[in-house]
Amino acid sequence: MAEPLLSVDSVSRRFGGLLAVNAASLSADTGRITALIGPNGAGKTTLFSLISGFLKPSAGTVRYAGHDVTREPPHRRARRGIARTFQIVQPFAGLSVRENILVGAHLRHRARAEALALAERVGRDVGLGDLLERPAHALTVAGRKRLELARALATEPQLLLLDEVLAGLNPSEIRDIIPVLRALSARGIGVLMIEHVMQAVMSLAEYVFVLAEGRIIGQGSPAQVVANPIVVEAYLGHGAAARVGGGHVH
């Protein structure tokens, strides 16, 4: 079997006495949406930082497109095609929406005209077409989430790491953005998303990894995962699986 686009092999990350990620392994592949779920504090964002290069693992390897990228800095991984969004949005607040996206677009397009054209196209794709001249700090939460997504997409990634892009959005905003995400994977982009909104995970993800206390405690299709008693207990506490009878959690 061919190697998946991203394969994380038993990575660990220790912060002093705290083992935030403990020998976690997962993989993600082109053209499909993979979800990473888990209770608060499970280490999901730390694991994302290990994949995108903002943190170096204490042990384990990260392989991307056939290369060992474990020791590579984040900007080099971005050049290889890994893009990430931040859970706490990080807009370039003093710049316009267009200029924000332009920074990403320049990664593969040195010429300003080309990069501007790409930025505009990406902006429209994520529904920011009318707000391109707006300063980034004037956007709503939903707008900022879209901007995070747009900037990452402008780097023309093959693997997109989405850290809770749906958090803080209302149901109608979530309904608006789900087709955008689905279209990305239809275009062949591999998506790995951290998500708490289970409705979105159930409808979007083909494969789900569950992280709890730094370890992958379950994986499978969304339906398999929510039926897994270990997963239910991780979310709801010891004995919960028996009480809900292994039924649906949400």
Binding site: F54, F92, A93, V103, L107, R112, A115, L131, R134, T155
Partner: protein
């Protein structure tokens, strides 16, 4: 070509000044103002666009000044070659300080303090080393010929420094519309987010520092040709670090014309008040302080920023703009 039109207009207007004004005192004032504007534009590349506030532009100014002075005085090198060597030496010092500070991950006030420290170390070393003339300084031989980069007429000096300033304005304008500039501004706004988008923040900041150092070093080289004298407190003194950072902040950090506008306003105010009150020592620094406070309070994006806002507002009033349109400069 259209983005360069404002530069052409401003430089042409300044170039026309000697046609109307012949008083040496005015030309001298303008030469010094443009010298500060040039040093300030160097700071502006790194601090204004890159958000890395250097308190040690003196390190580059002084290295440029000493390099050309030493080459001329001790080695009889041609002044123009000395000028080029001074710029190169300033850029090299920028590369060294930049590599050390950025490799160490220094940001904001730590970066500012360490750059200040580098400049101070250089000042102390220059004040005791024989080759720099130690405490006495270096006098460049008077030789009023163009091939020695010295001119009988102040007008020529004025046009030379104006040309250097014009080049620095063009550099800033090119920067604003380049990938390097977009990435540099992104690093200023949010370094982590820029890194996630594939920006190699270290290389970008280092590049900006080298460019910044080269421009400020050019101002130092010009200083030597104009005054024919340099010592450690001029070359590496904190005065130039302060003026190089105050003028663009007052004028508008991260704008093409910020350093020039700031230098003109600050120097005009300083000279004007000196005329009224006589030459009270330290008064110019008090003026800078007062202007800085006023600008930060009432025009946080500097004079150029305030002007842009004003123009936008006036344009809005004359024709109602469509909703959501925001101009920015």
């Amino acid at each position: 070509m259209r983005p360069f039109l404002p530069i052409v207009v401003v430089v042409a207007a300044l170039a026309a000044v000697p046609l109307f004004v012949h008083a040496n005192v005015v030309l001298n004032f303008l030469v010094v103002t443009l010298l500060i504007a040039l040093a300030g534009q160097g700071w502006n590349i790194l601090g204004g666009y890159g958000g890395q506030y250097s308190f040690g532009q003196a390190a580059f100014f002084g290295t440029g000044a000493y390099t050309t002075a030493i080459l001329q005085v001790h080695y009889g090198v041609n002044a123009w070659i000395g000028f080029a060597a001074g710029i190169a030496a300033g850029a090299a010092v920028g590369a060294i300080i930049g590599t050390l500070t950025f490799r160490a991950g220094l940001r904001s006030s730590y970066f500012a303090l360490v750059t200040l420290a580098f400049a101070e170390v250089l000042r102390i070393v220059a004040s005791v080393t024989p080759i720099t003339g130690a405490g006495v300084g270096l006098l460049v031989k008077l030789d009023l010929h163009a091939q020695a980069f010295q001119f009988k007429s102040r007008t020529v000096f004025y046009l030379v420094i104006l040309a250097l300033v014009a080049v620095s304005l063009v550099i800033a304008q090119l920067l604003e519309r380049s990938r390097f500039g977009a990435w540099l501004i992104a690093v200023r706004e949010n370094e982590d987010a820029a890194t996630a988008l594939g920006v190699d923040a270290f290389t970008i900041k280092l590049g900006a520092m080298v460019l910044s150092a080269a421009i400020t070093a050019a101002a130092g080289c010009f200083y030597v040709q104009y005054f024919l004298f340099v010592d450690s407190s001029i070359a590496y003194g904190t005065w130039i670090s302060i003026e190089a950072l105050l003028t663009p902040i007052i004028g508008g950090a991260g704008t093409v014309f910020g350093a020039l506008a700031g230098a003109l306003v600050v120097k005009l105010l300083g000279e004007g008040i000196k005329l009224v009150t006589g030459d009270v020592p330290g008064l110019d620094l008090m003026i800078y302080g007062a202007v800085l406070v006023l600008v930060i309070r009432f025009a946080p994006r500097g004079l150029v920023g305030a002007f842009t806002d004003l123009r936008t507002r006036l344009l809005r009033r004359s024709k109602p703009a469509p909703a959501g349109e925001v101009a920015h400069g």
